[in-house]
Amino acid sequence: MQPADSLGDRPAAALSETFAALRARGEMALMPFLTAGYPTRPAFLEHLRTVIDAGADLIEIGIPFCDPIADGPTIQHSSQVALENGARLRDILDDLAPLEPRVPLIAMSYLNPLIAMPRERLFERLRAAHVRGLIIPDLPADEATEWSAATREAGLCLALLAAPTSPDERLRLIGRAAAGFVYAVSLAGTTGARSELPPELPAFLRRVRAAAGLPVAVGFGISRAEQIRSLRGLADGVVVGSRLVEAIRRGEDVAALIAELKHAIRAPREGAGSARGG
């Protein structure tokens, strides 16, 4: 694990260093997603510590929004509960500021809560809250020109989404506008644990990697260790969201879940030879 001070003054560099260090070890980044303020504001901070200690490499912090169109029922529900708990963007950033997370934090937010705050103040407060990057699911590359430039200037990474429906031309556009990594959405659909990943996923991830020229994190639907094992060599990071939020809702052992997923990243693949190294 990197010491906290290496993340301090060059926030964008922290992300690429994290991906580069993992890649040198032949590992993918484990990127758990937590809805900020869920199930309560203090309990969220506890889960954040637990997830970091259990081996997360990057954390995605979901900023709750009332109309999360890219999210399935699990994250819709956690967002609604978080909002009922009064988890506004400014409170979340206040809560995060005193922490000293030893892994980079990424904020995932729909656009409207972000633009409700003056941009300079937003960036300043994100940095103070140890946030290194942003994922904005309703900001496609075409609308991201200004955000892309402003985040770069502020030393933050804007990680754009890529979808199986994106032609190569769009993937190149996404690669040019994104910073830090590209978030490859595994399937056409909303967030939510799936028992199977689509058979076309490896081909899609190869297309993203070829066109985008950045580390590729894959998310949506990933819930099980064997799914993670199947992604080795195809992606630089895996996001586990709804599965983790659901575990929190059910009171499962979150540390054990993260450790199990981390193990799936590290342990040699059973059966057929690995396509590792790409």
Partner: protein
């Protein structure tokens, strides 16, 4: 709000020759912006489908076969043109301008929504999409889409908030009879906003096979443009009918605004006619001061919801505020981006009518003219009743009567 462009002397408005629309107004731009509003704020998964839709729509705009098919359906199936009716007794009651009602309530299915639904479902058929989804608030767009899908033999699924299925029960029954599936949406405020969320989630999942027929002039580009174009038949007819019947363009036009599809369809052909005052009327609920209303353009600020940058009712943290209107079709915290642009440019004035004013107007129109308007349209009537007495007796005031009130009888029964 003053209409900044409305500076021409009144006599200019009385010219009998049609004025060409102002060349300056050719919005949206290639990226789907009306000034600072519009765009495409959707998950990447939908972007390619929106690009394809934009391309297909542009081709069909010049496709004589498609345009002929649409014109035939509008004439023979929808029953267009709808009349521009001089409401004599209502005008006498007001004691001012001549009130002319654009009778969209007489279109098939009882509201203007069918104009867009027929257009988009035809488009879907051309795109080779066999599955149609739609959202609906009052149920009129759901009924119109289910109707068009039945006509063209396509599968149809309609998302409707459970609050709205309760207050517009008859329309749910109509959709079932038309062979559509209706999904009750239980999330959020359980109204139109949440039905749109759910429809977008469906579309993200089934984009390869499905066309999403958005019913209002909202959503990502090209929807606000496409819905406006399909609804502009209202304004084009009104323009021709006013010139033929009154020998002049209207002096003022009033239409209700929820998302704003009937209003933009009515206003758009008149935007270049500086002498025609255009007024949009929002759902004022219990009044602005109460905080319980749906008057987005009167009280909101710019934000991003449902794929476009537009005015939005939101709190300081960018969370969308709950809305209230007696009319399900106006009970929406957003508004079409072109309306936001027309508001900021000053070309269109936006005001509101309260629940109480709309109910009184519904009763007045029913009693004086034998026409029961939809609660949505009653908001436009309510404002016209205030405006007409301030206008000269030889002036023409057009009210877009966007739908009929049969669907609202249960609500009205409890409130009048």
């Amino acid at each position: 709000m003053p209409a900044a462009h409305d500076k021409r002397p009144a006599s200019d408005a009385a010219v009998s020759a049609p004025q060409p629309p102002a060349a300056a107004y050719a919005l949206p731009d290639a990226r789907g912006y009306f000034g600072a509003f519009g765009g495409r704020y959707v998950p990447e998964t939908l972007m390619h489908a929106l690009e394809e839709l934009t391309g297909a729509y542009a081709r069909l705009a010049h496709d004589a076969g498609f345009q002929r098919q649409l014109a035939t359906l509008l004439a023979e199936y929808v029953g267009r043109p709808t009349p521009l009716y001089f409401a004599r007794r209502l005008s006498e009651r007001c004691g001012g301008a001549r009130l002319l009602l654009k009778r969209e309530d007489l279109a098939h299915t009882g509201a203007h929504k069918i104009n867009n639904a027929v257009g988009q479902v035809l488009l879907a058929q051309r795109l080779g999409k066999r599955r149609i989804i739609a959202e609906t608030g009052a149920g009129q767009h759901g009924v119109a889409t289910a109707t068009a899908a039945a006509l063209l033999g396509l599968e149809c699924l309609v998302y409707m908030g459970s609050e709205d299925t309760r207050r517009q029960r008859m329309n749910v029954l109509r959709m079932h009879l038309l062979g559509a599936n209706v999904v009750e949406v239980q999330s959020g405020s359980r109204t139109l906003k949440d039905a749109i969320n759910e429809a977008i989630r469906d579309w993200v999942t089934n984009v390869a096979t499905t066309h999403y027929v958005i019913g209002s002039a909202v959503g990502p580009h090209p929807y606000p443009m496409m819905v406006r174009d399909f609804q502009s038949v209202i304004g084009r007819e009104t323009r021709a009918q006013a010139l033929a019947g009154e020998g002049r363009l209207p002096d003022a036009i009033v239409a209700c605004v929820g998302g704003g599809s009937n209003a933009i369809g009515m206003f758009h052909p008149f935007v270049g006619d500086a002498g025609v005052r255009l007024i949009g009327v929002e759902g004022g609920g219990l009044g602005l001061a109460s905080g319980r209303h749906a008057a987005t353009l009167c009280s909101g600020r710019a934000g991003v919801l449902h794929g476009a940058r537009s005015y939005l009712m939101q709190d300081d943290d960018g969370q969308v505020l709950p809305t209230h209107s007696v009319s399900a079709g106006l009970d929406y915290p957003g508004v079409g981006p072109e309306h936001s642009h027309l508001r900021d440019s000053g070309r269109v004035e936006y005001t509101l009518a309260t629940d109480e004013e709309a109910l009184a107007a519904l009763r007045t129109l029913s009693e004086t003219e034998g026409i029961i308007p939809a609660l949505e349209s009653a908001h436009a009537v309510a404002h016209a009743l205030k405006l007409a007495p301030q206008m000269q007796r030889d002036h023409a005031l057009v009210v877009c009567l966007s739908g009929r009130g049969d669907k609202d009888l249960e609500i009205v029964e409890g409130l009048l």
